[in-house]
Symmetry: C2
């Protein structure tokens, strides 16, 4: 999606990916290498003017290897800060940004201490390499605790209070090399088994949008950040708690391709190449459906008004995100009506999930 | 642009182009061959499920060579019918579609006969291989006549009455394999030296839109057409005269990428692959600026709200279309104001041309 957004801007791409079949190969040249292969990253650096990443588990050391040769945006420092949940939360706290209460866990004793502080339920998470709900467990009782400790006890961990959130949402913003910032609409996110499944653009009041932008601005300025940044929030009693920072374009911003004046991908590229940023306002109502594990029947979906199809060209595999569709509409009524048609075709969790938002 | 539209649909592309540097190579594999190389077209046919063209001077024989192996949409017959201005006008007349009065010219005597019929000024055109104003001459007097005859007299020609049109516009429509049709807004076109320079989406009354759609429907049905078709019209005293048929996506429809629910490229691909068609309604006001011969200063333009940049990755050459920008806006006032900013940066003919529309 980054490549597709960049070609009209006159950009050319070299991608680095561990898979020889990486879908990005359709829109640029491909260096097949592990993310830890610093030599390959140096080769990448030699073939480009500027480098970026769309996956936050690229090792900071790999990003630094590139940075010795060519600019890397966002900075390896920002990347590194978001790779460890404990550091991330310490940073947020130091910037006076609200987060769920947390406690570092290096031993079973630490975990019991955390439980003393927060009481059941709590969430135990690995500090590093978690995504899509991987590397975490909700602990509701002693039995859960034993199971979670067996599964995760070998890692550096963090235990957090469980937030009985009313909603989850994310803010995607972008900061240019010149420090200019732009933000898209807060987007409501619905997860199933820890994996993002639906994202609805907007619908939050102006005060919450402003509060989210204020929080993100503190982070952008802290890092002298360049590129797209994503914050995932819990909404609890009308307040925002930051759940996670993603130093990259984000799945919950895919609706911006079809529903916003400028997509997150285009603005990320504009930012890191020093171009002026594009407008981020929404053109219409937009709801994104993630296709996880398999694609639903494309042609039945394309027959529904306002469906925009995004097939990533990836092999189907359980739990893997292999595409999405964004439904756009002029009004929320139309969006809701057509969303029910989409959900009926896509099946699975979608019909029930939709009932929780419309 | 076709490839960029097709990748999210899950399509893969093989392109055939005479140039080894063809920009399409960035989004698919490339067979470098002349458009007359039927062997190469057979190879192309072997590597795809369905074939199309975005240039109407591909020889009909090449399209037929593909058709012996794989489906070609639009049909080689429709392609052929649009390659000869005389056949095209005869067809339109037989379908009772208004065209400028015309007269076939195989000799100087024929030309003088035509002049007797229409009186000065007239337009002399080659029957084949004309585009962007090439292969035609306006004849206003005896001196023009001699010059035009020297330049074009070796070709099969057609002479037409000169139409003192009030405006030029085009309609782009699409017909699916199942016969479903969709149409975008009539688009006003401004040419400089015969080359399209500005296209403004919409602004025509409902009756003219309906009249244009009715004309196109007759042609679509006549050909059992599949894919995108373009009609260029003169508007004279509120009536439409067909100037040209283009059996393909069209420069005057490039605004649909940024300004319509579904672009001409995506709907062309949906049509020829048998997918349902997407909505064609406009999302906003849209004005396209063609970059001819050279690109203006990209970053100064991207700083103007609503500018969408399209660099084709082609080498700059006088008279060559190497990119465009589409300006979008929520209102016509905003569009006009920002269009003046674009014109000021782009310079050339743009400021004066804009004054003729806003």
């Amino acid at each position: 999606m980054m490549g597709l957004a960049g070609i009209p801007l006159g950009l050319e791409f070299t991608f680095l990916d561990p898979s020889p079949d990486a879908c990005a190969g359709a829109v640029g040249s491909l260096i097949q290498a592990d993310f830890s292969d610093t030599d390959a990253f140096r080769r990448l650096a030699g073939s480009v003017d500027v480098a970026t990443f769309d996956f936050e588990n690229v090792p900071e050391s790999s990003a630094r290897a590139v940075q010795e040769i060519k600019p890397v945006y966002p900075s390896p420092q920002a990347l590194g800060a978001c790779q460890d949940r404990l550091h991330e939360k310490n940073l947020l706290s130091s910037l006076e940004i609200a987060v769920p209460a947390y406690h570092p866990v290096s031993s079973r004793t630490d975990l019991l201490e955390g439980l003393d502080k927060f009481a059941y339920p709590v969430v135990l998470k690995t500090r590093r390499l978690g995504y899509d709900g991987k590397g975490q467990a909700i602990i509701r009782d002693q039995e859960d605790l034993e199971r979670a400790w067996q599964k995760l006890g070998d890692h550096d961990l963090i235990v957090e209070e469980y937030v009985p959130f009313e909603q989850e949402c994310s803010l995607i913003g972008v900061r240019g090399i010149d420090g200019e910032t732009r933000f898209w609409l807060l987007t409501r996110n619905l997860h199933v088994d820890g994996i993002l499944t639906l994202s609805l653009a907007g619908g939050f009041d102006d005060a919450l949008q402003a509060a989210a932008e204020d929080i993100m601005r503190r982070l952008l300025d802290h890092f002298s950040y360049v590129g797209v940044l994503t914050l995932e929030f819990f909404v609890l009693e009308g307040q925002l708690l930051v759940n996670e920072i993603a130093p990259r374009v984000h799945n919950s911003g895919h609706w911006t391709i079809d529903g916003a004046q400028t997509s997150q991908f285009e603005n990320h590229l504009r930012a890191i190449t020093g171009m002026p940023l594009g407008g981020t306002s929404a053109l219409c109502e937009a709801l994104m459906f993630n296709w996880i594990g398999e694609l639903p029947e494309r042609d039945r979906l394309l027959a529904i008004p306002g469906v925009h199809w995004h097939d990533y060209g990836k092999a189907a595999r359980p739990g893997r995100k292999i595409g999405h569709a964004t439904l756009t509409a002029g009004t929320l009524f139309e969006l809701a009506a057509n969303a029910r048609l989409v959900a009926a075709v896509a099946g699975g969790k979608f019909p029930v999930l939709l009932n929780s938002i419309f």
